[in-house]
Amino acid sequence: MKITKPIARAATLAFAAGITITAVPGLAQTVDTARIEAGGGNDWPTYHGNYKSYHYSTLDQINSSNVKDLQVAWMHFPGRSTRGVQSQPIVADGVLYYTGSYSRVFALNGATGELIWSYFPELDDALVARQTHSPYNRGTAMGDGKLYVGTVDGRLIALDLKTGKPVWDTKLVNSQKVTVGFTGAPLFAKGTVVIGSQGGEWPGRGPIFGVDAATGKQKWQFLTAGGNDDDTAAKKTWGNDSWRTGGGGGWMPGTFDPATNAIWWGTANPGPLYDWSGTDYMTKGARPGDNLYTTSVIGLDVDTGALKFYHQELPHDAWDFDSAVGEFISIDRDGKQLMVHPNKSGFIFVYDRKDAKVENVWRLVDNINFVKDITPKGELIGRRDFTAGKQDEVLCPHISGGVSWNSGSYDPKNGLYYKLGQEWCMKLNVVKTAAITEPQAQLNIGANFSIAKPPNGEISGHLDARDPITGAKKWEVRFPEPPLSSVLSTAGNLVFVPDARGVIHAYNSLDGKELWSHNDGTGHQGGIVSYSAGGKQYVAVVAGFGGMATDDYSTQFGEPYKSMPKDTGALIVFGLK
């Protein structure tokens, strides 16, 4: 991949003055659907890199032979980083956009870190105090001259890409009542901004929205718990009208497939997280039935929100191993158009891209015992459906998942998928609970539990290099504590892994040999991208610990986690000497 010549020094001034400068001659000056589809190269125009969701950079200025010379080029501190920095930066035309907690948005000169604009929305502080995991934010989307960001108090905001001035601000969810809001990044496609709300453990209906990018008006809504009003079939999969408090949600951005005009989205779990039905889950327990469309991947028409296809990865999810991971990797192989999607349980599902028919299922992690297996056709064998009370055998994986919500990376050059797996389990005591919706929705967990070692070993994590379709393993790197961040691979034969202790590692993507590392000073649990600005390639990563999964690290591993702050973080950008 060629890197274009340096942007003039005046670029920053020009940006501030609102003049668009494009670093890629010949490409449209605005970011639109076609540009996101082609995305890559100098830019990183959408959360997952482009619609193929490879989290891969075609740049190779930084490569396996010179990565030893990588050093910090600049840093940025978003401040007030409650629960750390979890955001995935996006980049276009040499400008990097990222968010901190409380949906603070920054536009920075990608070469120097100089501020172009910032935007701090005013949030409902009393509400924020009542929410569980927030107020972190995981990123933005861009398109049609605007940048889009969600807020934990239920709004989607559009900012002028050049000035940061709000263009529209739409309240989509009554968070004051349902408690949930938006923490995940939106997705832009064909003039529609798609964003999904939190859900799962909060008794609501887990809506996903399509919003008109030009006006901010809601175009459509899809209710993941029980489907939309006319969908009686889906409601029949929830005994006793339990869909009313079913949870669901879709809190990570999925992707867009231009071939079917469909948004692929992963949905969250039903609530309560754990059920006491025993094996008769179709007729007994808190939410008898399959509980559509929770823990599913769904295909929605981007223009209308109509459900085109779906696959429920775990019917009647009784373990909180949801499908909310937003990673949908488009790979064509042997005449088949495939979509790869990790389920939180550590099983990786491979779908036919036209209709979400299951083509294969493989295991990324060793410690899985909520089922005996999931067949290559997607059928669950030997489910463990609990009754109330203490469970004798630990449940694996732990509630933090076999994989995190962060993304792996697919290198189309060598055909390898780089993905982090987590080995941990939990002791579980299932308790019959009732959904609380008045005066304001509250968590509905349905259990007490604690983290536990896997039956045959210690808690650990691993970076795997695998075939994304078959799961065949080429190499792996083990970590004593599971890394939780996203992974980046590049055409320079590199894989970058920002780990939980705060060290970012670069490995040779062909054999997993470590080539470089740098201590960022605090744990990672967010995004990583590569881009080019002023003719130079950069790698940008966020550091800053404090998400729900990180909360167990202090008691489990001691230092450095015991003293690791959960209210700080930075964006750290690396370039060659």
Binding site: A129, N429, V431, A434, I436, I445, G446, N448, D552, T555
Partner: protein, 108 residues
């Protein structure tokens, strides 16, 4: 003998009623049992029902005053624990406090 059976039946009957009530409680004031409330909203972070340190601190054998515990439940702590003031009334918080005070200091 007959009386004993009747009592046992009544107890079972009562138990059933309370389970049904707990499952169907529309929310708000119900249910009132501190253990259930804890597993609904607290157990994720306070491991093993509050007996072990996890995401949040161990609550069994806490040396904190009742006042401190009640205030923490009401106001939470930003970035660590949600505020439950808007959800639970004083009676429910008192039930949760009772549950916490009743926890034995032996994880298992």
């Amino acid at each position: 003998m007959i009386r004993m059976i009747v009592t046992a039946c009544a107890a079972v009957f009562l138990l059933n009623i309370s389970t049904v009530a707990a499952q169907q409680a529309p929310a708000g004031g119900e249910p009132l049992d501190g253990e259930t409330l804890f597993a609904t909203t607290c157990g994720w972070c306070h491991a093993d029902g509050g007996r072990e340190a996890g995401k949040g601190p161990k609550l069994a054998a806490s040396e904190r005053t009742d006042e401190f515990i009640v205030q923490r439940i009401k106001h939470g702590k930003e970035g660590a624990m949600p505020a439950f003031q808007g959800t639970y009334n004083d009676e429910q918080i008192a039930e949760i406090l009772k549950y916490i005070r009743g926890l034995k200091d032996d994880p298992g």
